[in-house]
Every structure is written in C-alpha cells, then in structure tokens.
Symmetry: C2
Subunit: 143 residues, 2 copies
DNA sequence: TTCCTAAATAGGAATAATTCTTATTTAGGA
DNA sequence: TCCTAAATAAGAATTATTCCTATTTAGGAA
C-alpha cells in the first residue's frame, strides 16, 4: 500500500526513509487541494495518530528546499503547499479559499517566449507563475 | 504637507478623515516596497509615536476591502501591502524578500487576449497577476 | 459654533501559525 | 548487531494577526 514512487523520491534526494516522510509526501502528492500544514496533519492523524505538527512543518520545509514540493502564495496568513512541481498555474477563487491547478502549455510557451524576448532590465527571470483570480461557476461550486 | 490626494481618496470612499488614515495611506502609497504592517507602523512612529499596530492592521484591511490598496501574496508568513492598484505584476527575488513592481502593458494585453480567447472551463476570470521569479543583477543588488 | 453620537483609536489581551528546544527514537551504514 | 547522526514527539516560545474595551474624535445636526 505504501506508494513506491514516494520512497524513490526520498531516496533520490538522499533523505532517510522514515514513515513520517513517506506519509507526508504521499498525502501532499495525492491531495490536490494545496493543503495547509494543519490540513495535512489532520489527515495524517487518521492513520498515524502521533504525528507531530512540528514534524509536518519541518518535513514540508525540507521537501520544499529540495524542490520536491512547492509553496503556494496566497492571501491568507496560512502557508499552502503543492505536490505538483511541473510548471503550472493557479485559479484563485474570490469567494473561498479554493485554489485549483491550471495546466496550459500554450500559456507557458506564450509567457516563456514573451519574457525571453522582453529582457527585463537588471533582472534574470528564472520562473513565473500566473495567479488567475475569479469565480468557479455553478456546476463547479462544490468541491 | 499633508497629501491632498490622499484625503480625496478617503473622502471618495466615504471614510472619516482621520490623521491615522491619512498617514497610513500616505506611507503605503509613497513607500514602494510592498511593506508589511509592521514596517508601515515603524515608519509611521517616527512622526506619529502613538499609532497602534492594531489600527494599522485594521486600516489596511479597510483600505483593501474598499479597493484602495492590494495585498501582495508572498512566500513569507507576513502579509505585504501594495499602494499601486493599476494593473501590474511583480518581480520576486529568490535571494531576498525584495518584491519590485513590473509594469508592462504589452504583457497585460497579451494575457488578457489569451485568457479571453481561452475560456477556462467552469471559471470566470476577473483578474490575473504574474509572479516573475528570479534575481536582480549586480548593478541593482542594493535597494 | 457647539453638541452629540457612531465610528475610530490605543493599548493590551487573546489567538493562530510557525519555529524552537530537548529528550527520545530510529534509519541505515559499519 | 551495533553505533551514531539525524529525525521525531511533545510542548514551550515566538511572531503575526485579531479581538476587546475604555477613551477619543470626526463630522453631521441643531
Ligand atoms: Mn507566523
Ligand atoms: Mn496568524
Ligand atoms: Zn498547484
Ligand atoms: Zn506592486
């Protein structure tokens, strides 16, 4: 039942394979919600009652510094995390905390070409992320 | 010495004109740093020793809800504020907390046209912001 | 101009998110 | 199997933000 690919990721980055790390990485990769540390912790406690919130924070931070996960900037004062590291963008809901992934290779290419051509003075572009702000429509309001 | 346009903005939004509001709005519009509430408070205290951090937070929140200023999403757990409300984007420095404004009407148009044409399923786009992540080069490293 | 009152503020307490500390446990190499 | 550096749990501490309440004040009404 343990996600083998998760173990591989940890190994590839030279990290000790611990049950906590496996569980945390598994949850963040499989939860698509851009969860907070607290959400992850609550979820983990269902199957792992003793996990400590401090460990969750520390582990997420470690993952982030190794590039295994990303932080997602948001308007609340609670950090959110993202298990998807391939280039993508985010749909921010004006009416709720919901943040959805938005994949669009055409957009990536468009922006990449534009920024490459543009040459912003005194700044070397390494990456970019588009925050698309708006509303999910009726059919899609739950979730 | 009091910035008259700041008073006008407050009046336009039907807010009481208080010394605190004038000072806070003046600072955030003139400070280009995307400052935190705390930075604003420290700065204000030079000329206004008794201003309360709670008032600063509350006032910034009021301004934001009236659309007079914006919040800027960032990676730290400290909210940052932006006195510029015309459409623009941000340059995020990988090596520091620095966030600079980036104005580019060509980019605005490009993205606007693209998103208008694209029609993201089940989502109505109201606005968008590009986070451009990278490094400021030597000449521009101070500030 | 003076008075009145709802709204705003100061100052401090409370809360929430995150980080830190330390004793204990454990992964994994020798 | 043993050893040790690294990881974890639990709780304390810190930091950012919000809340509470007594006091002050802006600005409309008289
Ligand atoms: Mn914090
Ligand atoms: Mn907080
Ligand atoms: Zn995402
Ligand atoms: Zn800005």
């Amino acid at each position: 039942m343990v996600n083998r690919s998760v173990v591989k990721i940890l190994a590839k980055h030279g990290m000790k394979i611990t049950p906590q790390r496996i569980a945390i990485l598994d949850v963040i990769i499989n939860l698509q919600n851009h969860p907070t540390a607290d959400t992850i912790c609550d979820y983990l406690r269902l199957s792992y009652p003793h996990i400590s919130i401090g460990t969750v924070y520390k582990t997420l931070d470690t993952f982030e510094s190794k590039g295994i996960i990303n932080k997602v900037y948001s308007e609340t004062d609670t950090m959110r995390y993202d298990g998807v590291i391939t280039q993508h963008h985010h749909l921010y809901c004006i009416d709720s905390e919901r943040i959805d992934d938005y994949y669009d290779d055409g957009l990536n290419k468009l922006l990449n070409d534009y920024l490459k051509k543009k040459k912003i003075p005194d700044f070397i572009v390494e990456d970019f992320k588009l925050q698309i702000i708006g509303r999910f429509n009726e059919k899609n309001k739950t979730k």
